[in-house]
């Protein structure tokens, strides 16, 4: 078959099949960083964007050693972080200045999700 006809025929059949996949739910909306909402080993990428300012930096994705550490984030759909009990970046930075508050936050998140 001629290349032009092959390309057109393929495109038409793909349109007819509705093969263009719908976006998965996890990216239907934009994603946001949600701090303090990741269990140990489930963080998206930790502290990397904040250098050593937020925490003793560990490696990166999946390397968090602590449950619900407010210095670590995971990516969640926009506007869902608060519902998970997580923090935005400003809130996380403010909390990290107070070690006792950090422990209280982690305990609260642990209780909430147990």
């Amino acid at each position: 078959m001629d290349k032009r006809r092959l390309i057109a025929a393929t495109s038409v059949s793909l349109l007819a099949l509705g093969i263009l996949a719908a976006p998965p739910a996890s990216r239907a909306a934009a994603l946001e960083k949600c701090f303090g909402a990741a269990k140990a080993g489930e963080n998206a990428c930790a502290g990397v964007h904040h250098c050593a300012a937020l925490s003793d930096l560990h490696g990166c994705k999946g390397s968090s050693k602590v449950n619900y550490d407010p210095a670590d984030f995971r990516l969640v759909p926009d506007s869902t972080c608060a519902k998970l009990g997580g923090l935005d970046e400003q809130q996380a930075k403010a909390l990290l200045k107070h070690p006792r508050a950090v422990h209280a936050f982690e305990a609260q998140m642990q209780k909430r999700n147990s």
Partner: protein
């Protein structure tokens, strides 16, 4: 923060970075550090040590195959040499490994593993793909493809894909390191055979939760993808792929997996 203050802070941080990376044979010039003598050197040493430790941890996460091949000790030595030879140019550790593949290719002591730099390129592509934007191909793109002359159109590969051509069997090596029951004699034979592979990496539909996939492309598909990546027209890319390339099957898979960002007017280079 005012523009003037910002500039001053920027300059201060640049001077500190310069001091951290300055040769340690002589005292580093850094007028912003208030301490002097041993206390000053101890402070700078702490910065140097922290920077290297953070970089090493990030590099371990970014280059798991290279880490597995070299082992922890050798990888740490490589990390330290790289940190000194190629100081980071961005204030983001997620990018610290950007130049490691190119650096590995320059290290004489790694000559015994000539595939290592390409394996590092594959590791880095996988790392990059994991955070890339999702594909943007739409029905309108398909309609355009059906209606317009494809000699004047090109297909744009999505950011959540990557292809890495290599003279070594990098996909076989990479996959073996993901598999606890890998057949290492098969890997060794693949290296001895000297056959190269083109790795094709993608994150299905750019889904942040999906696992990144890696396969070795058949020769025709490798030529097709290389032509698309070079900005060739669709007709030109089909010519490059040659006989044996199944365009319809590739397109169906491409849409199902999210390999394309859309259709663009072909702009000859």
């Amino acid at each position: 923060m005012s523009a003037a203050t910002h500039t001053t802070e920027l300059e201060r941080q640049q001077r500190l970075i310069a001091a951290i990376f300055a040769p340690q044979m002589e005292p580093a010039a850094c007028p912003d550090v208030l301490q002097d003598g041993a206390r000053r050197e101890a402070g700078l040493a702490a910065y140097r040590g922290n920077g290297l430790a953070h970089a090493r941890n990030a590099l371990r996460a970014q280059f798991p195959t290279v880490l597995a091949m070299l082992g922890n000790d050798a990888f740490d030595v490589l990390s330290a040499r790289y940190w000194r030879a190629r100081p980071p140019r961005r204030g983001d550790l997620a990018w610290v490994g950007e130049e490691l593949p190119a650096y590995i290719a320059t290290v004489d002591s790694l000559d015994a593993w000539p595939w290592l730099a390409d394996c590092a390129r594959l590791d880095w592509a996988i790392w990059q793909t994991a955070g890339a934007a999702p594909p943007r191909m739409t029905h309108a793109d398909l309609q355009r493809l059906a209606a317009e002359d494809p000699a004047g159109l090109s297909l744009r590969l999505a950011g959540c894909t990557a292809y890495i051509p290599s003279a070594w069997p990098i996909v076989t090596i990479h996959l073996a390191h993901q598999d606890e029951a890998a057949d290492w004699s098969m890997v060794r034979q693949a290296i001895l055979d000297g056959g190269g592979q083109t790795a094709w990496v993608w994150r299905p539909q750019g889904d942040a939760a999906a696992e990144v996939r890696t396969i070795a492309l058949e020769d025709a598909a490798a030529r097709w993808v290389a032509a698309l990546a070079a900005g060739e027209s669709i007709v030109g890319a089909l010519d490059a792929a040659g006989e044996g390339f199944d365009f319809a099957a590739w397109m169906q898979k491409a849409l199902a997996e999210g390999w394309l960002d859309g259709v663009a007017a072909f702009a000859p280079r």
